[in-house]
């Protein structure tokens, strides 16, 4: 920390108090409750609860539906992460290479970043609408009768497109700023050492971009797992029955629609473990980055 610090018997606690109060009440309390109720079976009509040990977890893992949703979540996360990262990188590399109009491209590409997932979902819905959606018409032209909201695969396809669309700008911003922090001297040295622009990018620029890419990988996985909630909620319109949903959405459905608090909590805890692992990865990476720079 700082070489010189203030010392005061009470001031630091005064400054920390509001933040800590909010965190304890609205973070630790619910988190502990989630873990606790994952071991209980709650009466649907609110007449107490019984301790059932790990059976909520066992139920989740044994359920075929849970397995199916978990598999979809993995596929969905993989597709969204891969496409939004690679398209974001492609655009960043091109924007970095272009001098004229650079600022205009940047502004245009970034502006979509702030669109909220449900709004993205709504706009996506319109584009995939049975009556007015241009994508449906294009698909029909190729003989693909698209029924988003009814057909499992079609809905999944639309979800991936919308989720990727919304996430590209974020990756673009980070890749571009990563590219622009590659020192000019390194690029010039590479230009002297290597004729092929593609090879140069592959062997010099990309390795230097690796920390950014890794950071974004974790962020994109987190995004696909959790932040896409709004997109999914709007696109399946509360009718999860035949539609693809992710694990987070199932937590929500079971908890708020199905009133299965124990089961929902157990699923929450499973997701907590996933996030925990992801974040540890990220922290380790941040530490390494600090050492390198």
């Amino acid at each position: 920390m700082k070489r010189v610090q203030f010392s005061s018997p009470y001031l630091p606690y005064v400054f920390l108090a509001p933040q800590l109060a909010v965190i304890v009440i609205f973070f630790y309390w619910p988190s502990v409750q989630a873990i606790q109720s994952s071991f209980y079976l709650e009466d649907p009509f609110g007449f107490g609860s019984t301790f059932v040990g790990l059976s909520n977890y066992a139920d989740a893992f044994a359920s075929a539906e849970y397995g199916r949703i978990a598999r979809f979540t993995v596929v969905f996360t993989g597709l969204v992460t891969f496409f939004s990262l690679s398209l974001g990188l492609l655009l960043a590399v091109k924007a970095d290479a272009v001098i004229r109009g650079n600022a205009a491209y940047k502004t245009l590409l970034i502006s979509v970043y702030t669109i909220a997932p449900p709004v993205a979902g709504l706009i996506g819905m319109m584009f995939f609408d049975q009556h007015i959606g241009p994508f449906v018409k294009i698909a029909a032209f190729f003989g693909w009768e698209m029924k988003v909201g009814l057909n499992y695969v079609d809905t999944a396809f639309a979800m991936v497109v919308v989720a990727v669309w919304k996430q590209i700008p974020y990756n673009f911003i980070f890749f571009l700023s990563g590219l622009q922090s590659v020192p000019v001297s390194v690029r010039e040295a590479a230009a002297i050492d290597c004729r092929s622009g593609f090879r140069r990018f592959w062997t010099v620029v990309l390795p230097l971009l690796a920390p950014t890419a890794f950071f974004l990988l974790v962020i994109n996985i987190t995004y696909s797992l959790f932040d896409t909630f709004g997109i999914i909620d709007v696109m399946v319109k509360d009718k999860a029955a035949n539609n693809p949903i992710t694990l987070v959405y199932k937590v929500y459905m079971d908890g708020f629609r199905g009133n299965d608090i124990g089961g929902s909590s157990a699923q929450s805890v499973i997701l907590m473990v996933v996030v925990f692992v992801l974040t540890i990865l990220q922290f380790r990476f941040i530490e390494r980055r600090v050492h390198y720079t």
């Binding site: 920390m1 700082k2 070489r3 010189v4 203030f6 010392s7 005061s8 001031l11 630091p12 920390l16 509001p18 933040q19 800590l20 909010v22 965190i23 009440i25 309390w29 109720s37 492609l90 091109k94 290479a97 004229r100 491209y105 502004t107 590409l109 502006s111 979509v112 702030t114 669109i115 909220a116 709004v119 709504l122 706009i123 996506g124 319109m126 584009f127 007015i132 959606g133 018409k137 590209i168 911003i173 980070f174 700023s177 230009a191 987190t222 959790f226 909630f229 709004g230 909620d233 709007v234 319109k237 929500y252 908890g255 708020f256 909590s265 929450s268 997701l271 996030v275 925990f276 974040t279």
Partner: protein, 280 residues
């Protein structure tokens, strides 16, 4: 080596089209009538019903109880965005100040208590959070809408990073100049953090404005609905109607994305700086 090639522009233009077309179409379509949209599909050119549609969306008493107007939802979204951003900056600046600039025994513990919150996003603990809010009687209040969202470390993390990058000598010079903890904070640190505060304000405003799941659970009273919540209800009404109000849905979407998009485009430099330099 810096020769710009035709292909670079082509790819960029495709990218821009892919990202921007839906936004433009959303706006253009919202200026046509629902019947027109229903028969002709999405629009790429402006129609003549801009004023009409937006006036309706902003002023018509909608919802099941007929209490909420679009304007009310815009206001609620603003309250959420601004309240969240301001609260975040105040709480996290104070906490980061204590952690970075004070020597005290619980510093490490406090650090970990705060930073553990980075581990679990709200979506994962949504059910118990809702129960806690019910127990506290905070459903359908602005407090319940805003304060629980503040229970995360992101802002504290940003400010901690920033404070650490402030040269040590500045504090030393200030101490020799006779500044105590309050004076140093007000006279030196806050003015120095202005750019950082602006950047975080923008990021947090957008984050607050875009909240969906939390407001959806916290507000059953329609006078507390935000725009995001409104989008959900417009879709619920939609099901089963003959000609859905496409124009109004699009208008609502445009209203919901306009403020954040404008802010980010106008304050682009701060925004990018805040995002990329502190998110790491």
């Amino acid at each position: 080596m810096h020769k710009t090639r035709f292909f670079d522009h082509l790819i960029l233009i495709c990218g821009v089209l892919f990202l921007m077309t839906p936004v433009v179409v959303a706006f253009m379509t919202s200026t046509h009538t629902a019947a027109e949209i229903h028969s002709k599909g999405l629009m790429l050119s402006p129609g003549g019903h801009f004023a009409e549609t937006y006036t309706t969306v902003l002023t018509r008493q909608g919802g099941f109880t007929g209490q909420v107007t679009g304007a009310r939802m815009v206001m609620n979204s603003f309250i959420l965005g601004v309240g969240f951003a301001a609260g975040k900056i105040i709480l996290s600046m104070l906490a980061a100040y204590a952690i970075v600039y004070f020597r005290f025994r619980m510093a490490n513990l406090a650090f970990w208590i705060i930073f553990t919150t980075l581990l679990l996003p709200l979506e994962v603990r949504i059910m118990p959070s809702y129960q806690v809010m019910t127990q506290l009687g905070l459903i359908n209040t602005y407090t319940g809408l805003i304060v629980p969202l503040l229970a995360s470390a992101t802002g504290t993390f940003y400010f901690r990073q920033f404070f650490k990058s402030v040269p040590d000598e500045l504090l030393e010079a200030a101490r020799i100049d006779g500044a105590g903890p309050f004076k140093f904070f007000i006279d030196v640190l806050v003015p120095l953090s202005r750019t950082m505060m602006a950047a975080i304000f923008i990021i947090m405003f957008v984050y607050g404005w875009n909240q969906y799941l939390w407001p959806m659970l916290m507000t059953t009273d329609e006078s507390f609905f935000t725009l995001m919540r409104g989008i959900k209800s417009i879709l619920q009404v939609w099901i089963g109607s003959q000609i859905p109000d496409y124009n109004e849905a699009f208008a609502l979407a445009v209203l919901a994305m306009l403020p954040p998009v404008l802010i980010v485009v106008i304050f682009q430099r701060w925004f990018i700086k805040g995002l990329t330099e502190s998110d790491k």
